[in-house]
């Protein structure tokens, strides 16, 4: 089974670059698809808009979702993912700068699988990404695709 993509939803180019660099540094071989706002992310996941007619490609292995996004924010993206039977079990990791309690609580309330704060220290950031990759891409057994709970 080919490795499924990682969907990185990030509007900040430097964060995007750094995240990709961190993933690369840790030999994450999965293709990383970057969506730069909430709409793009949703279009990718649900094959709508720009991605309409893309056909039935597999869902991402994992979604790394920033909270603060243009157009549709991260929480709304998450809400829609969880609202759709097809994507209800899709692992979504909040990857964001904020450590505001309300963000953390709201994320988990909307069904985030994990909440990771992006540290300022790049080395720490890389470490966080490494652990994320290790966990979600290696250790974690994802729910079978299309499974109904």
């Amino acid at each position: 089974m080919p490795n499924r993509v990682i969907l990185l939803v990030e509007d900040n180019p430097s964060d995007e670059a750094l995240t990709l660099r961190a993933l690369k540094k840790h030999q994450v071989i999965n293709e990383v698809v970057v969506a730069r706002d909430g709409v793009e992310a949703l279009d990718y996941i649900f094959a709508t808009g720009a991605h309409a007619g893309r056909g039935a490609i597999p869902l991402p292995e994992v979604v790394l979702l920033d909270l603060k996004l243009p157009k549709v924010d991260g929480l709304e993206v998450l809400r829609r993912i969880r609202a759709d039977a097809r994507t209800r079990l899709l692992p979504v990791i909040m990857l964001t700068s904020s450590l505001e309690e309300r963000d953390v609580v709201a994320s988990y309330a909307c069904g985030a699988n994990s909440y990771v704060r992006k540290p300022v220290d790049f080395i720490e950031f890389v470490e966080a990404i490494r652990q994320l990759g290790l966990y979600w891409l290696v250790l974690n057994t994802p729910a079978p695709l299309g499974a109904e709970p």
Partner: protein, 890 residues
């Protein structure tokens, strides 16, 4: 007093009846009242002296017997056929009343008679003796033959018989006695002869009563040879026996009378014997004494019941009336108070009279008359009189009484003194003279008329006192009538009403003054009202008064401005109609009426133009002098501006929130970029950078990270200020233990001795308290880093135990003060004021890392709890952070 003068039949009992025969056996009353018997028995009885004589007689008799026996022996030896008796005179002697003795004497005499009969040869020598013996008795002594012939007699016998011996001796009874007498005596004689025993009987001859004893004279063979007769004149005794029966009957009657009299008497009657022992009491006695005193002695009675004279002096057994009577004194109506053993007390009038027999006191009669009631009545009367007198004297001019004819009979002392009259003068219409000349005629005429009409007396006049002043007197009186409607007297009072008159005058004066003052006060009040009105009008707050039913009763200018309605229209209109929420307005003034006041009651006033004004009402009921609610006073404060400011504050807070959120998300991202790309440079272009370039990049990274920390700390601080506090009981001990465990985990290689007191609890927000405590412990942990024997303590002590608590805490002495104490590097107290400000540090970052936000957070948390935090420290001597959480005023 002689017993004979007693008006009672008693004296007969005690007086020795003179008529009783002297020769009666020892004085003996066969029937008498039992209670009197002991008295009688103790009476002196002269007959008892006979005992001496009796003794002599016995001796004499014994001697006689001896001699007779001797003579008899000799006679038998010489003349067995008998002797002839010869009578002879003998001397007198004491009478013997003992019947036995008499018997013996008779026997002796019988023997003697026999002896006389036989002893013929001794006649000469013993005749005189025998004669003496025979004549020694006053009894007639005869000797009869068994057939009834007179053989011999003694002198007295012949004398009594009234015939010389020659006419008697040898004669048969039938010859010398009347036939009837002869027959009875012969019968007796035959009885004696037949049965050889003595016979006693009595009969009467020629008006003389005789007691006879026929005594058989026996020979040696026991045959009756003759009969001796001893006859005694008992005429006197017979007579006295009759008298005695009469006396006894009389005595019995008297006893019955006495019993009846004693029973009928309500007074207590006691009869004492001369020793002071109660011998007789009547029925009334026992209830009075509380026991039956019969046979009790006077000392015993006085011991049982205590006696006092009327003045309360105790009386002993020697001084009670009875004791005095027993000493011969006749006590009349001595008043005593007797308290019985059971405590009951009564007043008595006691009379006691000695009983005398022949001048000798033999007892006493005591009569008690109960005067308790009389005393009570007398006392009541005394009190009543005293009361009326006191009343009379206490009234100015007092009371008076007049005879039915109008003449004064009594005027109270106070009147007499005041007008300088004596009672006598007053009784002679002297009171007319002290009347005011203008009143005198009228008063006197009116009084005469009143007496004539038997009407009510009611007049006002002036009376001249000794001081020369005239006093206004109100005289009132009524006729006192008896059962038949006749006037017994007039009784009335005089009242000094001059004071009343003066008071009236003063009252008039006072009223005038009062009126003047009322006018003054009214003016003052008008002024005050104007002043108050001006104040009300000057108020920028809308002020209204509302009646209990919600109508506006008054309003100021500000109200007019706020509503756009003129005062005239406001007054009388419905208060609630000027608000956007009329129901809430109504509820507001109803609450004022129910609770007395409301504070800061929010309403919105509506102007006629449609503008609204947010107001807070403070309203209170107002009452009249009697405390009744008159209405509501309501003052509105325009808070439109305040509400606007609050809105602005809220908006600012929202902005701040957004700012913080933005900072949280966006400010860190560039830093992360700088840091990340610096690192990328270091990683990818290390070989093209010299050491200085690499150093700069590391500096860049280090600064980025520090800024990240600063941003985080700032956010934390701002969060502490923003979050709502949820108060609940927090286990600070457990919290501290968790925090310490965390510290040990992150820096496990340090050896720090933590001492955390048990059971520390506080009311507060657990998250904020955790933040505060965490920062304080962190702080302590950090500044003890250089101590090998680091010690950190978390505990609490009551405020009163603190040596130098900060001023103005406003907490009770028992308030717990929590503290975190360390033995770290401490600090100079000169900089203590900087300690809690954000980003203020007393040490360099190099020395101790940190942003300087931790204590600011602790400070903010404590303050948000209404508490206070302070510190005590010295350089190199450790630091102690104290905080109280109990809010001021709670």
């Amino acid at each position: 007093m002689d017993a004979a003068s007693l008006p009672s039949p008693l004296h007969n009992i005690f007086r020795r009846p003179a008529a009783l025969p002297k020769q009666s056996p020892p004085y003996f009353v066969p029937y008498c009242h039992n209670s009197i018997r002991p008295v009688l028995l103790k009476l002196p009885v002269t007959t008892r002296r006979s005992s001496l004589t009796r003794k002599q007689l016995l001796e004499e008799n014994a001697e006689l017997r001896a001699r007779l026996a001797e003579a008899e022996e000799r006679l038998r030896a010489r003349h067995p056929e008998g002797v002839e008796a010869a009578p002879g005179d003998g001397g007198g002697g004491e009478r013997v009343f003992d019947p036995n003795e008499r018997e013996r004497t008779h026997q002796a005499l019988a023997s003697a008679a026999l002896a006389v009969q036989d002893v013929t040869d001794l006649r000469r020598t013993e005749e005189a003796t025998l004669r003496g013996i025979l004549d020694a008795t006053q009894e007639s002594i005869w000797l009869f033959s068994p057939e009834g012939r007179m053989l011999m007699g003694n002198t007295i016998a012949f004398q009594r018989f009234g015939k010389p011996p020659a006419d008697i001796i040898g004669k048969h009874f039938n010859e010398i006695l009347p036939p009837e007498l002869a027959r009875t005596r012969l019968a007796r004689l035959r009885e004696v002869v037949e049965f050889a025993r003595p016979v006693d009987f009595e009969d009467e001859r020629c008006g003389i009563f005789f007691h006879h004893r026929f005594y058989p004279v026996l020979d040696a063979a026991g045959q009756v040879t003759s009969v001796a007769c001893f006859s005694r004149d008992v005429t006197e005794r017979k007579r006295s026996d009759g008298e005695r029966v009469q006396l006894l009957t009389r005595l019995q009657e008297q006893h019955a009378e006495l019993d009846a009299v004693l029973a009928a008497i309500q007074d207590v009657v006691l009869i004492y014997d001369k020793d002071g022992t109660v011998r007789l009491v009547n029925r009334a006695c026992v209830p009075a004494y509380g026991f039956d005193p019969t046979n009790h002695s006077l000392p015993d009675i006085v011991r049982r019941n205590s006696y006092h004279d009327i003045d309360g002096r105790p009386l002993d057994a020697e001084s009670v009336p009875t004791a005095r009577a027993l000493r011969g004194e006749s006590v009349r109506n001595a008043q005593c108070v007797v308290q019985r053993m059971d405590g009951a007390e009564a007043a008595w009038e006691i009379s006691s009279t000695p009983l005398r027999i022949g001048g000798e006191v033999v007892g006493a009669v005591t009569v008690w008359h109960d005067i308790t009631e009389r005393q009570k009545v007398a006392e009541r009367l005394r009190q009543s009189e005293a009361l009326y007198r006191a009343i009379g004297e206490s009234i100015d001019y007092g009371v008076w009484t007049c005879a039915p004819d109008g003449r004064n009979t009594y005027a109270s002392e106070s009147f007499l003194k005041l007008v300088g009259l004596t009672q006598e003068q007053c009784s002679n219409f002297g009171w007319g003279a002290v009347l005011h000349p203008d009143d005198a005629h009228h008063t006197i005429e009116a009084w005469k008329e009143c007496v004539r009409q038997r009407g009510m007396w009611d007049i006002e006049h002036r009376v001249r006192g000794v001081d020369g002043q005239y006093h206004a007197v109100l005289a009132r009186g009524v006729p006192v009538l008896n059962d038949r409607g006749e006037i017994v007297c007039w009784a009335g009072i005089n009242l000094d009403i001059s004071r009343l008159k003066r008071a009236e005058e003063e009252l008039r004066h006072l009223n005038a003054k009062l009126e003047q003052r009322v006018n003054e006060r009214t003016a003052e009040l008008t002024l005050a009202a104007q002043y108050a009105r001006s104040l009300i009008e000057a108020s920028l707050d809308p002020l209204v008064t509302i009646s209990a039913d919600g109508r506006i009763t008054d309003a100021n200018r500000a109200t007019e401005l706020a509503t756009g309605v003129a005062r005239d229209e406001l007054v009388g209109s419905d208060f609630s109609s000027y608000f956007t929420d009329a129901d809430r307005a109504r509820a507001g003034y109803q609450r004022v009426i129910a609770e007395g006041l409301v504070r800061d009651y929010a309403l919105t006033l509506r102007h006629t133009s449609g503008h609204t004004m947010d107001v807070l009402y403070n309203a209170t009921v107002y009452r009249n002098g009697a405390g009744e609610v008159q209405g509501i006073f309501a003052a509105a404060r325009d808070i439109t501006h305040r509400n606007r400011a609050e809105e602005q504050l809220k908006a600012a807070n929202r902005d701040l929130e957004a700012f913080c959120y933005s900072v949280s998300h966006d400010l860190r991202a560039p830093l992360r970029g700088i840091d990340g790309f610096s690192q990328a440079l270091l990683e990818d272009y290390l070989d093209r950078l010299d050491a200085e370039g690499q150093g700069h990049l590391r500096w860049i990274r280090s600064e980025c990270q520090r800024m990240g920390c600063l941003i985080d700390d700032l956010l934390n601080l701002s969060r502490v200020g923003r979050v709502a506090i949820e108060r609940k009981s927090v286990d600070l001990t457990a919290l501290a233990q968790e925090i310490v465990a965390g510290l040990r985990r992150t820096a496990g290689n340090r050896s720090v001795r933590f001492q955390i007191a048990n059971g520390l609890r506080a009311e507060g927000d657990s998250h904020l308290l955790r933040a505060a405590l965490s920062n304080l412990l962190d702080n302590a942990w950090k500044y003890t880093a250089k101590r090998p024997d680091a010690e950190i303590e978390f505990g609490s002590l009551p405020l009163r135990a603190l040596a130098n608590p900060p001023e103005g805490l406003g907490c009770p002495p028992a308030t717990p003060v929590f503290f975190v104490r360390d033995n770290g590097v401490g600090f100079d107290m000169a900089y203590a004021h900087k300690l809690f400000a954000p980003f203020q540090r007393l040490h360099s970052v190099k020395e101790f890392p940190g942003t300087g936000i931790g204590l600011a957070i602790a400070h903010r948390v404590v303050h948000r709890h209404g508490g206070h935090i302070w510190t005590q420290a010295a350089v190199d001597r450790g630091a102690t952070f104290y905080f109280v959480l109990t809010p001021k005023g709670h």
